[in-house]
Symmetry: C2
Subunit: 316 residues, 2 copies
């Protein structure tokens, strides 16, 4: 399999592991890279010290294969993260939640490949203007932070495909080989997978969080916090409190006060799955009752599904 995405990053399979807060430590990133995909370390939930440790360990584990770091640009540590990218010559940076203009040239001057995550074709065009190397289009069904337009992957990928000529990576709702093939049918050249890797053995999330993710029904995640920044959260005590506040039209300040500091860590990393914030995509419900897999097992299963789906399509 070879296309613009595999060539851009020098990888064997056009499968990117989303750089997720509290899930995407060096173990997950390295495992996906070592399976031929592109593993990303999620800098969003790491202090610079912890990120440095993760970069060092990932670099060692992948032995020259391509890995990357995902950086939400709204992060107050973004500049420090970029210093580490330079220091360790991280080959790939995925940016999100901010303007792609801010760092793209700086990163290119240092030989770093840059992809930027968007939720609309308007922002996809801004990516092209900023000169990024690839765009990630992420639909409404994705976990965590999300676009205000609520455009789903099925509607977003064709829109972004028409809005830009950039290499296009589809994200949101993609966790099986069938869906990888569907994303390609819609015009994507690669996929970014978050949810399915969040509950693999190599994910740095707590076992309690992974177990919750593997026991969800359809409808158990919901996009809330539209007054702040729309975020897809799993139903639990914490979300109920937020939803009650939203139902009485609570102010943004009030919502921020309820959230406080460290909620996502509490839920996803420390494993307090009732009082903490749990971010996962809608597609988790497809895995209800399944066991925690290794990255190698998940990648092999997706490859087999992909091959089978492709055979099946020939019959149409």
């Amino acid at each position: 399999m070879s296309n613009r995405i595999t060539e851009l990053f020098g990888i064997a399979r056009p499968v990117v592991a989303g750089g997720m807060a509290w899930c995407s430590g060096w173990r997950l990133a390295a495992a996906v890279t070592n399976e031929g995909g592109l593993g990303l370390i999620g800098a969003g939930s790491m202090t610079p010290d912890i990120l440095e440790e993760n970069i060092v360990k990932c670099r060692e584990a992948v032995q020259g294969r391509t890995y990357g770091v995902n950086i939400p640009l709204a992060n107050p540590n973004a500049a420090k993260v970029m210093e580490l990218v330079e220091k360790y010559r991280v080959p790939v940076v995925f940016t999100s939640a901010g303007s792609p203009k801010k760092w793209t040239s700086w990163l290119h001057e240092r030989g770093v490949k840059v992809a930027h995550v968007v939720a609309s074709s308007v922002f996809a065009r801004k990516c092209e203007e900023a000169g990024v190397d690839a765009v990630v289009a992420e639909g409404f069904e994705a976990g965590g932070h999300n676009g205000r337009e609520e455009t789903t992957t099925m509607c977003l990928i064709p829109a972004v495909r028409r809005a830009t000529t950039l290499p296009l990576i589809a994200a949101g709702g993609i966790a099986t080989g069938d869906a990888i093939l569907a994303a390609e049918a819609l015009g994507a050249e690669g996929v970014q997978i978050g949810t399915r890797f969040a509950f693999t053995a190599e994910s740095s999330a707590s076992e309690a969080f992974k177990r919750v993710c593997l026991n969800l029904n359809e409808g158990d995640t919901r996009l809330i916090l539209k007054k702040l920044s729309p975020t897809r959260l799993v139903a639990n005590k914490f979300r109920t409190v937020l939803e009650e506040a939203e139902a009485r039209d609570a102010s943004a300040e009030e919502l921020l006060e309820i959230i406080g500091v460290g909620r996502a860590r509490m839920g996803m990393f420390d494993g307090d799955v009732e009082n903490g914030e749990l971010e996962i995509g809608q597609i988790a419900a497809l895995f209800k009752g399944r066991d925690i897999q290794t990255v190698a097992e998940a990648m092999a299963e997706m490859q087999a599904e992909y091959n089978a789906a492709k055979e099946r399509l020939k019959e149409f």
Copy 2:
């Protein structure tokens, strides 16, 4: 192209035109059927007299080819609609918004093929128990009435595919040949297309409504009325009034009072696009700036896109 859906309905292409309120009169249904798909008359917005007229004219126009009627079972006229189905031997009925158990046996006894529309795999299993011939799984991105789970097409189709062995029709966000192929990759055997047919020349909707649909940006439709029955509506004066009421946590009664009677007709059929209710899917934004097409033009374009997408997939 031949599969369980084409065989079930005796059609050449596994493309169903959704039976949409105020859009799906006999002209649209007959045009889609005459292009080799399955056209549905939307009984939801018709009095029994008007429906009868539409059935008679559609039957004449399709000259023995398969057409059908879509019936929201919550409709107070549902029993009268069924009388007309029997009287005119309508070959296919799609039911929605109610229990598939209610009419399926009765329809089967009269030789009618039955499909039921669902928004979750739980309801898909109920369809199988009720003995329907096919299930339509419709995602969050679809226009008009929608499921409470907010599951998108990308997540819903694989879930329903795993939940039942029934012939599966995907709906929601499908308006191009690429998306038809994507739906097949996800496990569907056919598609139901609403949005794209709603603004064809043959749609019975007002020209003003069609023009609005062909000028939407991403994010211009939104799922609201979650307290009543979640409905995807186009941004206009009417929706703003509803959203303001929802923001102050208005009761269901208050919302019903604002909506009043005949809002959808006002917006979609009479063409008061500011004060009326406008229902269309997210994928409309993909057609911004396009002209109104005939059904034949839309079908030919989708077929060409489908063929091209399939060729493109071979390269992966």
